[in-house]
């Protein structure tokens, strides 16, 4: 389980994260929901150790983070993060070089699934192709948790369907997924748990199935409630 406890972070004078606490369990898909600038990307980067936090704790499976976590937690960012001059195949070699938990066969499989041309230079990829490639890099790792930052943003419809398919497959089944997205209504059916961010804190953390069956509310309904208060 990925656990955040009372995490605080200041950015440009603002308390972006102001005592944020929530958890993302293994085997479920958790979604961070918030307005633009609420700090969703920052939270993802903070979990990955890519930005420092001022106070609070972030624990992975109960342990404080260290370089070991990068084998266990993979990150799918919303933009390209591999050198533009590299070919996609070289990017895969790079990952294989450094990660013990890299699964080369699965990587090849995913490349075929997404119909990506290994010899293509990363700099020449369209937005949709790039997003798929990022997914390959993130999912080909035998990691226990996957963080995805806006995996559907700006992607064309068909690519989006392909990506959504991946969510339902065994690639995701046993892992813990934490994602952020703007298109809540489109992916609502995929999500198990939602965390609604408000004023740098977790305004509301709930299980979607339960919310739907007990209170008959969709995530969007809850969002409206929370943000109109």
């Amino acid at each position: 389980m990925i656990e955040l406890k009372e995490v605080r972070k200041r950015y440009r004078g603002r308390n972006v994260l102001n005592g944020l606490s929530f958890t993302a369990e293994k085997g479920s898909i958790t979604c961070l929901i918030g307005m633009n600038g609420a700090g969703k990307s920052t939270i993802m980067k903070a979990i990955m150790g890519l930005v420092p936090i001022k106070e609070g704790q972030i624990l992975i499976d109960g342990k404080p983070r260290g370089k070991w976590m990068y084998e266990k937690v993979s990150f799918v960012p919303d933009h390209l993060t591999m050198p533009l001059g590299m070919k996609m195949s070289e990017g895969l070699t790079f990952m294989a070089d450094f990660y013990e938990s890299w699964n080369a066969e699965r990587a090849a499989e995913l490349m075929r699934f997404f119909r990506l041309e290994p010899k293509e230079k990363i700099g020449n990829l369209s937005k949709g192709t790039a997003a798929k490639y990022n997914l390959v890099l993130g999912l080909a790792l035998n990691s226990e948790y996957v963080l995805m930052d806006e995996p559907f943003s700006g992607i064309d419809l068909f690519s989006r369907e392909m990506i959504a398919d991946v969510f339902s497959s065994e690639l995701i089944e046993e892992r813990g997924v934490l994602l952020t997205t703007h298109e809540i209504d489109e992916v609502e059916y995929l999500i198990d748990k939602a965390v609604i961010l408000q004023d740098g804190k977790a305004g509301l953390e709930f299980d979607c199935e339960t919310m739907r069956s007990e209170q008959g509310k969709s995530i969007v309904d809850v969002m409206r409630e929370v943000y109109s208060r």
């Binding site: 990955m48 150790g49 890519l50 420092p52 370089k67 990068y70 533009l84 070089d97 990660y99 013990e100």
Partner: protein, 277 residues
């Protein structure tokens, strides 16, 4: 260790085309400079002979490779200056290229399951490799240029030259390739310390953005003052002084080493704990 080497190889590999272009350019410009200069001198000597009927040796000194190098100061120095400029800029870019642009490779580098200090040392070692490889290449070029000269100039008018003298004939090499290894060690030692200070400043900026620029400049300024001020203040230049010169330099060397260690420590600390992507 293996991760460090892999990262080092990656950094070298990324830059290889620019490195080879610099090497090729240097070779081209310097060989051409020597060739043209030699041909020019031969023409002058022939003209003299035609005008006066006297053989050129009576008026001109013997042709020597060292003198050719002396005559081509500017053209020889141009590719050297260019290479230095490119390497200095890349000392910055080796970090900044991973943050800015369409792709943020820093995400990947900082999320590798290895110590972040491997990233730091890989970048540092890569820059040093480029510098010394260019120096080595320049050294290799000298006998090649001398061979070109020997091929072009008429054999009976050549005076043999030593490579070391030819190198010294160019003003730029007096600092880059000094005669004394002690001086080489001192010059490049200071250069490496400057690079360490630069890395610390860059990482300060990457950690604290605008404040980081100010911190970085302040840190660099402080280090520069500490490296150059004490010998003057302590009287190394004077013929008398309270401290003996060997004491002054020993103090200075200790300060320099301290600055180097602090800069490395600061860079590693910032990279591990404070840097933002």
């Amino acid at each position: 260790m293996r991760n460090y080497l892999k990262l080092l190889h990656m950094e070298i590999h990324r830059f290889r085309s620019i490195l080879f272009v610099l090497m090729g350019l240097t070779a081209l410009v310097q060989i051409c400079a020597i060739a043209f200069s030699t041909i020019g001198e031969i023409n002058e000597r022939n003209a003299y002979f035609q005008q006066t009927g006297k053989p050129a040796e009576t008026f001109f000194a013997a042709m020597s490779f060292t003198r050719m190098v002396q005559n081509t100061q500017f053209w020889f120095a141009v590719p050297v200056g260019l290479s230095i400029a490119v390497l200095v800029i890349y000392a910055f870019l080796i970090w900044y290229r991973d943050w800015f642009g369409r792709s943020t490779f820093a995400f990947r580098l900082l999320a590798l399951p290895s110590e972040r200090r491997n990233v730091y040392f890989a970048k540092l070692t890569a820059i040093l490799t480029f510098i010394f490889a260019m120096l080595g290449f320049q050294l290799l070029l000298m006998p090649i240029c001398r061979a070109v000269f020997t091929m072009i100039a008429p054999a009976d008018q050549i005076q043999p030259s030593f490579i070391a003298d030819a190198i010294f004939a160019n003003q730029a090499f007096k600092i880059l390739l000094p005669r004394s290894f002690g001086e080489f060690f001192a010059n490049y030692g200071l250069g490496i310390i400057a690079l360490l200070i630069l890395f610390a400043s860059i990482l300060l900026e990457r950690s604290y953005r605008w404040l980081g620029i100010a911190l970085g400049l302040a840190y660099a300024g402080l280090c520069a003052a500490l490296m150059f001020f004490p010998p003057l203040a302590l009287g190394a230049e004077y013929s008398v002084g309270y401290l003996y010169t060997e004491e002054i330099y020993a103090i200075q060397i200790a300060i320099d080493l301290l600055i180097a260690i602090v800069s490395v420590w600061l860079g590693l600390y910032l990279l591990k704990k404070k840097v933002s992507v």
